[in-house]
């Protein structure tokens, strides 16, 4: 039974694994010297939606996870636990929007104490999002008593634009930022079976930005 469907399963897996091309651009802009000692940690936060930002929670999770593993990994404090411990000072309304605001916040003894106890060295602010736009084509699917199928061709543009700003808590200083722009066109041709060729710009932006963040922080 398994042997009979083996080739079909393999073909399906191969089809699902197909990716469309993505173009990438990563730039970093360094203002100061960075570095991280053993035991020091970073926290990754999305910039406030009160400032018009809508970075996806999944993207923040993805960057946090990538930074905490692999070569040059560092200790990442989970975002929610950080925000809950320092509640309400890192909520979208109250979070500092610049290093001057951070300096004011650190004047609160308990806030400074908790940050110091947890050995948090950097705050990484993420800004930006992934958009799908400029699509075209058409596709129709039908289902009958003998089976189902689709016919047509559709495409759309995926753009992921993100920026990470790195604040050094110890020096209360903005150390620089990294911008990542990934774009690609996803295709969906269908002759009976639709074959998705997705441009996974968000996944690639997450990987690219995380790798660059490691390089940036380790100096």
């Amino acid at each position: 039974m398994i042997k009979q469907y083996k080739s079909t399963i393999i073909t399906l897996l191969l089809i699902l694994n197909l990716n469309a091309c993505v173009t990438a651009r990563i730039e970093d802009n360094r203002f100061g010297n960075t570095g991280i000692s053993e035991g020091e940690g970073v926290v990754i936060l999305a910039k406030s939606y009160h400032l018009g930002n809508d970075t996806e929670t999944d993207f923040v999770r993805c960057v946090s996870s990538n930074i905490s593993k692999g070569p040059s990994s560092m200790r990442v404090i989970p975002t929610n636990s950080f925000k809950n411990t320092l509640f309400p000072w890192f909520e979208p309304r109250t979070a500092p929007s610049d290093t001057k605001g951070l300096a004011n916040l650190l004047k609160r003894n308990r806030v400074a104490e908790i940050i110091s106890d947890n050995n948090i060295r950097y705050i990484i602010w993420l800004d930006g999002n992934t958009d799908s736009a400029g699509g075209g084509g058409s596709m129709s699917c039908a289902m009958g008593p003998t089976g189902a199928g689709c016919f047509g061709f559709a495409w759309w543009q995926n753009d992921s634009k993100y920026e990470a700003t790195i604040w050094d808590i110890r020096d209360v200083k903005n150390e620089g930022n990294i911008s990542a722009e990934y774009s690609g066109t996803s295709f969906l041709p269908a002759i009976v079976i639709p074959i998705p060729l997705f441009a996974r710009t968000q996944t690639k932006a997450c990987k690219g930005l995380s790798d660059q963040l490691k390089v940036f922080i380790f100096g």
């Binding site: 939606y49 009160h50 809508d54 996806e56 929670t57 999944d58 809950n84 411990t85 320092l86 509640f87 309400p88 000072w89 909520e91 979208p92 309304r93 109250t94 609160r108 308990r110 806030v111 908790i114």
Partner: protein, 204 residues
């Protein structure tokens, strides 16, 4: 066989006519607030609907949504005020005459709730706006503060979890309300001024 067809048709029909969603928020999970506690004992009087607050709205041309806040608003305000004041006592509206023993009496209420779903906002987010009202009285029953607190929460959509996403946006709006109330209390000198003047008037 006929039975299976009937059941399948019934399932298909119910999935088509299922035009409403309900969201339950049992506990917003508001953490302890990192604020300096004031050494005052306050009474909180909640409106009756705080025990079981629900908000229902039909999105034009789409399904209707019901947010059941259950006791979560009570939990939110208990957490805020117990973090900010050294003592809180929750009173029934019927007991509101016996407030002389407290430094302040706080009466929170909800003025309005609104929300938007991705079909309305044309983006992949759920948003919730809650307008609370906080009235604070001195122990003579004189209103000293009447603040509208307009809070906002926004959550991005995830696959097959619309109800959970709307609940997340509502919880974020409640957390935003907590942040706003703390900012207002810290900014306002009225509370500390009034309590210190009350203490001065008390005979030694």
């Amino acid at each position: 066989m006929k039975k299976i067809y009937c059941l399948l048709s019934l399932f298909f029909l119910t999935s088509i006519i299922n035009c409403s969603s309900q969201v339950n928020i049992k506990d917003p999970g508001i953490p302890n607030l990192l604020v300096t506690q004031l050494p005052y004992h306050v009474a909180i009087i909640y409106p009756k609907n705080f025990e079981n607050f629900t908000h229902e709205e039909k999105v034009i041309g789409r399904k209707s949504w019901k947010i059941d806040f259950t006791r979560s608003n009570k939990l939110l305000f208990n957490k805020i005020f117990s973090s900010f004041f050294s003592g809180i006592t929750v009173l029934d509206e019927a007991d509101s005459t016996s407030t002389l023993e407290f430094d302040l009496v706080i009466k929170p209420s909800i003025d309005a709730i609104e929300f938007s779903v991705p079909e309305q906002s044309q983006d992949e987010t759920f948003s919730v706006w809650i307008r609370y009202r906080i009235k604070i009285f001195d122990n003579n029953g004189i209103e000293i503060i009447n603040w509208p607190i307009s809070s906002y929460g926004k959550a991005s959509t995830s696959t097959f979890a619309d109800e959970q996403d709307l609940a997340n946006a509502a919880v974020l709006a409640m957390r935003d309300a907590a942040a706003l109330i703390i900012l207002q209390i810290e900014k306002s000198k009225k509370i500390t001024n009034i309590i210190s003047s009350m203490n001065r008037q008390q005979p030694l």
